[in-house]
């Protein structure tokens, strides 16, 4: 029997049909609509060339903020989650001997909760006047540290980054912990016999052998950061002003205002950014696994 008959192509059809109709078709036709003035106020749609894109990239408008905020958010959370996740993973792998499973469960828990709920909780905690954080800081006499976390345009994005890191670090830690546990003990023992100190063992054994997991983690972090929505929307809704507006919340804002052509243009730019990022990331992945 020919392989094709044993593994018929029509098995792929259901998944493919849903995927093409509800995912690919909108994405591709969306790129076309990005060159129109499609909006919710008129039923006719006119071709306007690059007008939407000119508006997005002009310094008179606020759209460039979406990009800078998104990039700052992505890079900050990726680095923070990686470093903190690695630190926690090392701690659970080498340092703490008892209750490791319990700690792992506890640290990973925030990642399982709905992002929206975490955001609402922190919205209260970070309330400048009555929130738990500032009340605590004033209580221990650190009044100067009791900042208007989500209201000051200069630190709002930082606060959002902080909350998101708190929520996401457990997920990263779990993956890195699994990676750490695949490194054979003998390598460390041999290195100790040769007189390598903790830092040398980390740099020359742990880090290189952890590279595949680090790449996976970075991919996940970057893909998440570029598309982040829930946490920003619920914490600050892009505010104050546009200080925390990221691409996804900006797209939603365009949607709510009925600016469909413009919104679709932003979406298409995000689409291209993600395809390019995805391509480089896959190349990096293949290079790292070949090096092994």
């Amino acid at each position: 029997m020919k392989l094709g008959n044993r593994y018929p192509l029509y098995f792929v059809l259901p998944a493919l049909a849903l995927y093409v109709v509800f995912f690919i078709l909108p994405s591709v036709s969306g790129i076309g609509f990005a060159f129109t003035d499609w909006n919710s106020y008129r039923s006719e749609v006119n071709f306007v060339g690059f007008e939407n894109f000119q508006k997005i990239f002009s310094s008179d408008e606020t759209y460039l903020n979406y990009f800078s905020n998104t990039f700052v958010f992505t890079i900050s959370t990726s680095v923070l989650k990686l470093v903190l996740g690695l630190a926690l993973a090392l701690l659970l792998n080498e340092g703490i001997k008892r209750f490791v499973h319990l700690y792992r469960t506890m640290i990973y828990l925030p990642a399982v909760l709905p992002t929206l709920v975490v955001a609402l909780i922190f919205k209260s905690i970070l309330n400048p006047g009555t929130g738990l954080l500032n009340t605590f800081l004033r209580g221990i006499g650190a009044d100067a540290l009791a900042k208007p976390w989500l209201v000051d345009p200069r630190i709002a994005l930082g606060s959002v980054i902080g909350v998101d890191t708190w929520k996401g670090v457990g997920y990263i830690m779990v993956i890195l912990l699994a990676g750490l546990q695949t490194i054979p003990r003998e390598y460390y023992e041999a290195a100790e016999v040769d007189g390598a100190n903790a830092w040398a063992r980390f740099w020359h054994i742990t880090l290189p052998m952890l590279m595949p997991a680090v790449v996976v983690v970075t991919v996940l972090n970057v893909l998440y950061g570029l598309r982040v929505f829930d946490i920003v929307y619920a914490l600050t809704n892009g505010g104050p002003g546009y200080a925390t507006e990221v691409l996804s919340t900006g797209i939603f804002r365009a949607f709510s205002q009925g600016l469909y052509g413009l919104g679709t243009a932003i979406t298409s730019i995000l689409f291209v950014i993600l395809i390019v990022t995805g391509y480089f990331v896959i190349r990096l992945l293949q290079r790292e696994s070949v090096r092994e």
């Binding site: 029997m1 094709g4 044993r6 593994y7 018929p8 192509l9 098995f11 792929v12 259901p14 998944a15 493919l16 849903l18 995927y19 509800f22 995912f23 078709l25 909108p26 994405s27 036709s29 969306g30 609509f33 499609w38 792992r104 990973y108 828990l109 399982v112 909760l113 709905p114 992002t115 929206l116 709920v117 609402l120 209260s124 009555t130 009340t135 605590f136 209580g139 779990v174 993956i175 699994a178 990676g179 695949t182 595949p212 997991a213 996976v216 983690v217 893909l223 598309r227 929505f229 829930d230 929307y233 996804s248 949607f255 469909y260 679709t264 979406t267 689409f271 993600l274 395809i275 990022t277």
Partner: protein, 231 residues
């Protein structure tokens, strides 16, 4: 504000919240969206991953990468809304289920594809010799052996849909169709001042998640680790 332990416990906060916050309806909606979409997506993804993995022709390899791409790409909500309107699925529960299933497919295909090789081909051959057709072969032999990865994919996807906020925000205007995430957000907006009620609402909203997590954490944590370390 002072931080002291409470002296009285107001249990009626919970019943107030269930009533005012429509938690009953939204809970049922969340269960419906999460289970229906996960079952649909996992089944479709398993069918696809199985064939694409067992028979790696050029077309099939292309289809695999085509499907995997979806993990990274963003949804275009504007044109998707148009499609939902054309198919009369906008603002319906069925529409949400189909959408959620669609968003789960790329990741599920990825997870299951990597696992198919652990089911030996010899089983396929043996079944064929015994006169099995392709459909029987899949449902009676392969599918049961895929259970571990199906459970992992299922739980991860279930939680992903349960916690989702973005899709209902865009596509559901009718509050009777709202899942728990939207219900709690709306409640927060209305009752911001009554932080005690909001807290009760949040607690009830995350209770199912915590239960699922504690019960299924073995699968969740092992699935994550396996995917990452192997990859």
């Amino acid at each position: 504000m002072s931080v002291e332990l409470p002296t009285t416990l107001y249990w009626e906060n919970f019943s107030t919240v269930i009533d005012k916050g429509r938690l009953g309806t939204s809970f049922i909606n969340s269960v419906l969206y999460s289970s229906a979409s996960t079952i649909m997506a996992t089944l479709f993804a398993a069918l696809a991953a199985y064939v694409l993995s067992r028979n790696p022709t050029r077309l099939n390899r292309f289809l695999y990468f085509f499907l995997i791409m979806g993990i990274a790409l963003p949804i275009n909500f504007f044109t998707l809304t148009k499609i939902m309107q054309i198919t009369q699925l906008i603002n319906t529960k069925m529409g949400m289920i189909i959408l959620y299933a669609t968003t789960q497919i790329p990741f599920s295909v990825f997870l299951i594809y990597g696992f198919i090789d652990s089911v030996p081909r010899e089983l396929d051959e043996a079944a064929i010799i015994d006169g099995c057709g392709p459909v029987q072969l899949f449902f009676r032999i392969i599918l049961p052996l895929l259970t571990p990865v199906l459970v992992t994919a299922g739980i991860l996807n279930f939680l992903g849909v349960w916690n989702d906020f973005l899709l209902p925000l865009y596509f559901l205007n009718n509050s009777t169709h709202w899942p728990m995430t939207l219900a709690v957000y709306n409640f927060f907006g209305q009752y911001q001042q009554s932080w005690n009620l909001v807290s009760a609402d949040i607690l009830l909203t995350i209770l199912p998640v915590i239960v699922i997590y504690l019960v299924g954490q073995r699968f969740i944590l092992s699935g994550l680790s396996a995917g990452a370390v192997k990859g």
